[in-house]
Assembly symmetry: C2
Homo-oligomer: 482 residues x 2
């Protein structure tokens, strides 16, 4: 997808590459002092021999545009403009380094970079496979939109009213009674968390959550100066004794929980424990953020009702999303809760991005009102069940003796436990070299060194077979070298 | 659009309203301690007599659910649950009050609340009128999408590649040479600013900008602990002497500027001054954020090239958007600049909302590649020119002697100067009562007390005629009472 030299062209490849780099520098896209990609990486990206890139680099070094320092890679030394001038460009790198937001974890950055590579098998990706995308239904939804949409302007603060109305009716089917004015449309669950971090919490406050937790792989709370504190889990979700203890000890402001098909462990909290959890939170006056984005992806039987359905005093903020069950590309999720909170978060949302895509909001409303969403969910569950069963079969045949797991009852993930003492860092890198992208457990719990989050949702069925066999081989290899 | 009692129903209206309020309280949407809307407001919203609401309130007070304190409105006293229990609900209001993000300015909140009201004439709104929305072309774009979209997943970190490729080609027509890897797709220009605030700046740093400036109406920078410092303007944009002085005196980290059809004044910076500005910023090593979202809306002749087109060392970050020239509802804009910066902002964008709507990105790419965007721009300019000329005519006929203005050459706005000493707060409120929504100057410059930002883009042509005549009457009335 990126620029590549034209192999059929008359200009020699190294000259094309030289011109490409020169243009990057001249137009200020690569600034003075910036470390540029290695010769090896560029050779891969351009699909040429490394020697071709070396020739281009050598000429640019001779012209004074690049400089190579041993062990430190190649950097931009001058731009053509700076060869004639005294003024160096702004030092963007120092701007980046000293600014407020914490960068993604290095492994997460590596994952984002590797995801678009061709032929990579993504065994950890928390996203429905392109194979599962309901193309034909989406075409029907899009076809109906022009007759619905008079114009695509900014919407009301809380989002498109017809969508909030649909969501209010939909949540009633989950046992949750909220009116459209208690719902805020957001661009996915992650944005809901972002808004909560700056709209409800103070710097220095503490959020309790499961350990491991999807939320620990993100810097959305820490970037706002908010601390995360993980509570131990058992087979039924977070441990309630720990909750009570740490609410006080950590002076916690909020509990973030994902009680249904927990990411990454797949755990489902039983209904009696949900009631107890809620009772504790009410007694402790501890507000709860319930992340419920996997709810519809049950594979054996419907899960217990959400915490929010049992919440009688407005303690629970509920987060839902279309990203997992339908399509992440709509970027539509929602928060439901007390109007005081929803009004506040809506105000910040307006200050952040003026609302989510109206086009996506109309499409989501149409998915719901047409009944196509419900129809799709049936198909989705059926396909996902086949994938889960395949993963289970592959695990039983390929991973015997090298891993433990619990068969998930819904969601996307198997939380695979590997033998202690294996280097997951090494496994991640070996797998990447072998064309397999993994999500290691330390993303979800900094102390974890023996889990992988496997996803049966993303890779194609044939890639899953291939990838899992390869992965088992890599693990056995690593284990034997211990 | 909100719930209303069923006037044809058998249940008396006051009982329907009582049940509605009870449900709000029981489900925790209205929490204990929350101030609920006034009887007058609810009567308006439900389209019933105030006495009907009074009856409902009285019964709820008798049941112990509401309480009225003189001068302090009506509050929720108990929920049915709390009548039997000792635990009060979480104190959401104190969470809201003590949290990080600064709320919108009160006037901005008032504006957001008033915008969806029926029959309101919006004379300040910075958004193309629904009349200007290219419905038929959008239907053509939507029709083509299903054949383009294989699946709607998360996109690459920097956004959908085909869109970045189209934008790279489009920017070439503006004299800007950037490759797709130096472009980040964002959900509108506001999000670009949000990402810049946390991705490039430190707490305590200072951003220079025009005074007045659109950016001053937002708390996106102050919420991250970043100070805004306004530079005086003249008829050709910000004053360069002041720029040089305050770069040093304020130890500024960044210049935010909107040199083309400036919001709110409509000013266009001439080409020679652009060169000088860039020279100063290069000498001072002061990076520039160029907000260029009004560029395509020229009405008499094309404006000078962007600063970014003259930027040879990567000092300028360029912000573009489809919101003004096409449709805000797509929520698609972009940032172009040095890869160091784009990589950084892309990483934060992934942590904020995992990317913009793929559906909107595909639609935007199709607008560009099909040529429909260029075709639309021609029509848009022509309609906007008619509106600008109408506004000019109305101003000349209605506002003689009570206002001064410069005829804008593009964009959406007339920066209307009213006589000193008029209370703009009073005018805003009087106008709102008369069904007219205004954007007073203090939104863009806290010290301003004599300007309105009039927009000829939003109201329908007949509303513009009606609204402007009414507004002139209100101003004359206020002036005569001074």
């Amino acid at each position: 997808m990126e620029w590549k030299p034209d192999k059929a062209g008359e200009t020699p490849l190294y000259l094309q590459i030289k011109d490409y780099i020169k243009n990057k520098i001249e137009t200020g896209q690569w600034t003075v002092g910036m470390k540029i990609p290695s010769q090896r990486k560029l050779a891969e990206r351009f699909e040429v021999n490394r020697s071709t890139v070396v020739t281009a680099f050598d000429e640019l070094i001779a012209e004074g545009l690049l400089e190579r320092k041993s062990g430190k890679g190649t950097r931009v030394k001058n731009n053509t403009w700076s060869l004639f001038s005294e003024q160096p460009p702004p030092d963007w790198s120092s701007y980046v380094k000293k600014s407020i937001h914490i960068p993604n974890l290095p492994t997460v950055q590596d994952i984002h970079k590797a995801e678009p590579l061709p032929h990579i098998i993504r065994l950890g990706t928390g996203e429905p496979s392109p194979e599962l995308f309901p193309r034909e239904m989406m075409a029907r939804v899009l076809k109906r939109l022009p007759s619905r949409i008079r114009s695509l302007g900014y919407e009301e603060e809380k989002g498109l009213y017809p969508l909030r109305e649909q969501l209010s009716a939909y949540m009633k089917t989950l046992g949750i009674s909220v009116s459209p004015s208690s719902i805020l449309i957001v661009s996915g669950a992650l944005q809901a968390l972002q808004l909560i971090s700056v709209g409800l919490l103070r710097r220095g406050s503490t959020v309790l959550l499961e350990k491991p937790s999807y939320l620990s792989s993100l810097n959305v709370f820490p970037s706002s100066g908010i601390r995360l504190f993980g509570l131990p889990m058992d087979a039924t979700g977070l441990q309630l004794l720990a909750l009570r203890k740490h609410r006080k000890r950590q002076n916690a402001s909020l509990l973030y929980t994902n009680p249904t098909f927990h990411n990454p462990t797949g755990t489902v909290m039983p209904v009696e424990k949900r009631k107890l959890l809620l009772k504790i939170c009410e007694e402790e006056q501890l507000p709860v953020v319930e992340d419920d984005v996997y709810r519809e992806l049950w594979l054996d039987s419907p899960p217990p009702k959400p915490l929010k359905a049992m919440d009688n005093n407005g303690s629970v903020l509920y987060i839902g999303s279309f990203s997992k069950a339908l399509s992440p590309g709509l970027r539509i999720g929602w928060i439901a809760g007390s109007e005081t909170v929803i009004d506040r978060l809506a105000d910040i949302k307006m200050q952040t991005d003026y609302g989510s895509s109206s086009l996506s909001q109309w499409a989501a409303a149409e998915w719901l009102s047409s009944g196509l969403y419900a129809e799709h969910l049936g198909q989705m569950r059926s396909s996902l069940r086949d994938r889960r069963d395949l993963a289970e079969e592959l695990l039983r045949t390929e991973f015997e003796g090298i891993a433990e797991w619990v068969k998930p009852a819904g969601g996307f993930y198997v939380w695979l436990r590997l033998p202690q003492g294996l280097s997951l860092r090494e496994l991640f890198e070996d797998a990447l070299k072998a064309g397999i992208l993994l999500n290691p457990g330390h993303l979800y719990d900094g102390d974890d060194d023996c889990h992988l989050r496997l996803s049966y949702a993303y890779a194609s069925v044939s890639d899953m077979r291939k990838g899992m066999a390869k992965l088992a081989g890599l693990i056995r290899g690593l284990a034997s070298r211990r």
